[in-house]
Symmetry: C2
Subunit: 223 residues, 2 copies
């Protein structure tokens, strides 16, 4: 079985946004445009379907659903040996690192459990939190992928996001399979994955699977 490059459980709004505007330490997903008198509650509005499942990696209480959504959440880690993420998924700070004591948004037990390669123009030393090791790379998508594939040791590589990183890998045509979960909200502006997923159909087979939870799961795999 060959090593796949996968986007897994990537969450966007109906209008294709993965995050709002103005991402900051306090608001990792930024602020979303008011719609119908209400500001979207991010990331909860995008991710509550996943929080509800039995397999959600950060679940603190027993229970949770084991329906269709759980199959997708479970696949987040299944046969994954490494992740590649953009710097914005690691933390809100831009430019040279100012505080190496701050070790990212992911807490003392990050939900990755594999090596993670963070794309950045600013070097910092690797470090390990529980069973996740973060490495910091200035590299092209293809170069970073080559390192991640070695680290994954035969298992698959997940392109973890955010939006800019997924777009970069799509443009470099380096992704084999994609799972995007579309939540029934509009965000209006911010970090946009696509205007329409139909742009991918020349390169990928596609299925659209509505879940009883209200989420629509979009699946793509190479033609």
């Amino acid at each position: 079985m060959s090593q796949l490059v996968r986007v897994q459980n990537f969450m966007v709004s109906i209008d294709g946004f993965g995050a709002g505007e103005g991402q900051s330490l306090e608001a990792p997903f930024g602020h979303a445009e008011p719609r119908g008198g209400r500001v979207a509650d991010l990331p909860a509005d995008l991710a509550s379907w996943a929080f509800a499942t039995a397999s959600w990696p950060n679940r603190t209480q027993p229970g949770g659903t084991r329906g269709l959504d759980d199959y997708f959440v479970r696949d987040f880690a299944h046969n994954i040996g490494a992740e590649i993420m953009g710097r914005n998924k690691f933390g809100p700070q831009r430019g040279p690192w100012e505080n190496l004591d701050w070790t990212g948004w992911w807490g003392d037990t990050p939900p990755f459990h594999t090596p993670v390669f963070v794309l950045t123009h600013h070097h910092r030393p690797s470090f390990t939190l529980a069973d996740t090791t973060f490495h910091f790379l200035e590299a092209t998508p293809a170069e970073a992928l080559q390192q991640a594939k070695v680290a994954a040791n035969g298992r698959d590589v997940r392109i973890g996001g955010g939006v800019a990183t997924v777009r970069q890998y799509l443009e470099a045509d380096l992704i084999d399979t994609i799972h995007v979960a579309v939540a029934p909200i509009e965000i209006g502006r911010g970090e946009r994955l696509w205007t329409s997923h139909k742009d991918l159909l020349d390169r990928y087979h596609h299925e659209s699977v509505p879940s009883p939870s209200g989420i629509t799961h979009l699946i793509f795999w190479r033609r």
Copy 2:
């Protein structure tokens, strides 16, 4: 994470049959009632959706689909540490074993890759084919499950079928999660899992997920 007892990728017709009548060495799934002038082609009519996927364990050629059906096929092995099957799934012979050289329907590399416990009233010695070891037990469902859980070493136990074995475990109320794939054919008579899956709804949450392939995936998990 607790050890689950799972039915996974169990395939039935719209009218609830997992096999036709008259199972034999040459016809492991028996013969199905003629419908509209055509005898059902078993197991192909029940399983062709799974054969088409990239993750089908007996796939001999590269390729295959990676849509919704593939998520289910992949889950057949995911975190499974042992299987329990009925004697009819192992082979067609009934009564005392006549030929110990015949090692079942599953070829030299069975698709289980774990210990398999075969429920039978007739003892025979354990044996190993590739990475699958078959054990033969005269035991109640609960006793067999206890042995399988130990062998699974913390991972889940799959109740592999056939129909009679799944029914036995349902009656003993020992199953945590169920995935049944319903194919759009009628079989008419033979080994019937249920007259309606609605009989399960007092004990299980339920989702019904139509796949673009024409299969309907039924998912159940304990209330």
